[in-house]
Symmetry: none
Subunit: 267 residues, 2 copies
């Protein structure tokens, strides 16, 4: 079932150009060699396509592939500007833990939205989420299988929580889950601010083989009102480059694989 995403073979010539354009709009750039592989044609044909698209002003050719024309490229930059550079670095690191063909459970939240933006497109991933925003984001990027968790949407959370959502998660099984972290502590585990939210996160973790917690500095060592899970249920922790060394060691000593995001270089 994982074949559908990357394998775009058998496409009609014109259809191929449309697909290339769609991919270009979703990703901002395309690489000729990758396209040739994906569509199973020679790079010559891809270059011909790119040439025609460029002639119509739909893309700008560059050495190795093509980019979106400057005018259309700006909104993409705006989007990326929404996420701070620090969150992007975190998200990239977290996305690196994902392997091709996996099924992911992604909680609501801005950090998790950044992760969804950073997921590799051609990996045949299946993403289950309770946040319409994240679902929408992945649909726009194309190339993902998206499952939605239904139920009542909590406005403050931006996703579905509650009994109905929990029940649906229980009927699913995922390889990896990304519960949004409210607070995480080496001694006491994972915590949430809200009762229903915490129950939902717990259900997510129980439905997944492995759990990845992505935490900005302010969430490390903090606690909140409702426990989500013991630390033993967490396999991976992604922290910022600026995270305290002793804190990282504390988690590492308890069997959690700690991943440190690369430093951000501001312009």
């Amino acid at each position: 079932m994982a074949k559908a995403a990357a394998n775009e073979s058998g496409a009609l010539p014109q259809e191929r150009q449309q697909r290339i354009l769609a991919r270009l709009r979703g990703e901002g750039r395309v690489v000729a060699a990758e396209l040739a592989l994906a569509f199973e044609v020679s790079e010559d044909s891809i270059r011909r396509d790119l040439r025609e698209l460029a002639a119509q002003g739909l893309c700008k050719r560059v050495y190795g592939g093509a980019l979106l024309p400057a005018a259309m490229h700006t909104p993409l930059k705006q989007r990326r500007a929404e996420h701070s550079a620090r969150k992007q670095a975190l998200a990239r690191k977290a996305a690196g833990l994902v392997q091709a063909g996996q099924t992911l459970l992604i909680d609501a939240g801005t950090t998790n939205a950044a992760i969804a933006s950073a997921l590799p497109r051609e990996a045949g991933l299946t993403v289950i989420t309770n946040a319409p925003h994240i679902a929408q984001l992945l649909l726009d990027r194309e190339g993902f299988e998206v499952l939605l968790i239904g139920g009542r949407i909590d406005l403050a959370i931006g996703g579905t929580v509650g009994a109905q959502a929990v029940e649906q998660v229980r009927r699913l099984r995922a390889d990896l889950c990304f519960p949004g972290a409210c607070a995480i502590d080496a001694a006491h585990g994972l915590w949430g601010f809200d009762s229903e939210e915490s129950l939902f996160k717990r259900a997510m973790i129980e439905a997944s083989d492995e759990t990845v917690v992505v935490a900005t500095d302010d969430k490390l060592g903090a606690v909140a009102a409702h426990q989500v899970a013991e630390l033993s249920r967490v396999q991976h922790l992604v922290v910022e480059h600026s995270a305290d060394r002793a804190t990282r060691a504390a988690f590492g000593n308890r069997g959690v694989a700690v991943h440190r995001a690369v430093a951000v270089q501001e312009a």
Copy 2:
């Protein structure tokens, strides 16, 4: 796992064209060689069919087969951009049918997104939808209670369909529902392009007291592959100002309240 391309042999010429069109709308593309095999006719005949369909603007011929006209296949991202004045006029009229405190069931689709944008904010409305885009839109506007229908998201539709979605809808009850119309005909009722999509729309209608169909001109009098419901299940029909008078009367005579959107004045 070749095609489940059933043996569609023995079809009348006109019937064959309809089947081709249905397949085109279901899959977004059609290959001449495959059609020739499925219908057991020469590719010449298929090309003749495609030529005629293209002449009616129902498909776009390409080397090797045919694609859906650009407007229909372009990813939702772009379609969403065309919040044309006509659609807004339709949406405003449709939103006028809603009363304070009601629970609405809103299907995916660009027209329905426009309706969601036009809903009154302070009316204490509860909106149930299968489209993350519409949910997100209402969350951003604030002041709505939003329920999400879960399940697998169909990329072409932009919302959840399938057994899981249908099951959830069956457990709900709404005052009003807005099933996206693919085609509506006074004699034959409401139709959809896709099998699963049509089943979902039917479930929506059965879960609601009243049904509102909002149809742009091109959908009036058209037919598609899968029936959603008899016309007797439709209480309200919202049409454009430019809708044909005889057509409006045809629906009115069958007990459907026809609402005509106000004229739009182009700049």
